[in-house]
Symmetry: C2
Subunit: 214 residues, 2 copies
């Protein structure tokens, strides 16, 4: 792990600088529509390096997505091995997704642009990097919870979509505040949103939930 030469360190430096520049531009702009020239100007590097390191702008955006999600994916793996109940794991998992969106405010938009973009190989790659691991993590926690009698039987595809749908709206909180009451603190609203979604989704897994509502 300590084999990096001076040359490799420089290379890593340039690669990271390009990613940092793209992230800063996206945050400033509140849009993922950024150009190679802007990334070059912001990073102080030649735009040809984007092609060299990432194959192009789309490749750079995928790498940015991957970098931002890496910490969340590592935490997810750790979570699966913890000696806690499936209920606690699922709570931490859902909270983790929304905390990740909060940490990287553009992550959700970038993810959806890549997942529904025109480029089929990119869609597959992002699916493999981000959708599949989250889906698999949930499947494991669900299986554990069902085996332990903590959760009622539930289809993991249906669970995934409904839970992710509610989590994904986390970044829309700002918009809905316009409709809601004035003077509400955005951070407080987001804290409450996370708790509401975690409770709502966990409620749908409760063994009593099914019987109680039929």
């Amino acid at each position: 792990m300590n084999s990096s030469t001076s040359l490799q360190r420089t290379a890593t430096g340039a690669r990271e600088r390009l990613l940092d520049a793209a992230a800063a531009l996206i945050i400033d702009r509140e849009s993922i529509e950024i150009s190679l020239a802007e990334i070059a100007a912001k990073s102080g590097l030649n735009s040809a390096l984007v092609k060299y390191y990432f194959g192009g702008k789309t490749g750079l955006l995928v790498a940015l997505l991957q970098r931002d999600a890496a910490r969340a994916l590592a935490e997810m793996d750790e979570l699966l091995g913890m000696n806690i109940t499936a209920t606690q794991k699922m709570r931490l998992h859902l909270r983790g997704i929304m905390t990740t969106y909060r940490r990287s405010p553009y992550l959700n938009r970038l993810l959806h642009a890549m997942l529904h973009g025109p480029d089929e190989p990119v869609r597959r790659e992002v699916h493999r990097l981000l959708v599949q691991p989250v889906f698999n993590c949930q499947r494991k926690i669900l299986a554990e919870g069902m085996a332990r009698g903590e959760f009622r039987p539930v289809d993991h595809g249906i669970f995934y979509l409904s839970a992710i749908g509610a989590c994904d709206q986390f970044m829309q909180t700002e918009g809905v505040l316009m409709l809601s009451q004035a003077g509400v603190d955005l951070d407080m609203f987001r804290d409450q949103y996370i708790s509401h979604v975690v409770d709502m989704v966990l409620g749908s897994l409760s063994p009593g939930a099914d019987a109680g509502r039929r």
Copy 2:
């Protein structure tokens, strides 16, 4: 109401034909990226009529959104006046949103493209036409349910986002089936998804839900 002249009928016909052509193209293409030339070819009308009736392609897409949502919005108004419990109203409301997405498979994608597009007046218009009415409808049902003791107190902004988030994923069901088990019927999966989301969201409103999970 019966004052339409022959000229007006012809005009309505052309307007509708342009909307029908755009809808058919979007469904064929599974993409909202359609050109004026394609709309003209499909409808057999001159593309200048798009400008005449809708001010341009974006105006046409907003009108399409509005036309497809009109039935759902009318049903929503009707629902509010029904002599049923707030719980029943909310169930019908949520089911209605997902049924609308099912009826117009591109509605959800079109809605999000307009709501997050670069054009500020379009964003406002779509917000006014579609987001605001749904938000207001939910607010009324929530107020009624809380007053009747059917629902626990809940912030309507938080409720709106989490419920709509889960409903919005309805159109992603096809994608998740690749990840889920093979051989599942898409229609059956969607039926189950609707029931799951309705139960999950209603569960979050149950007066016992809060106390039970703390």
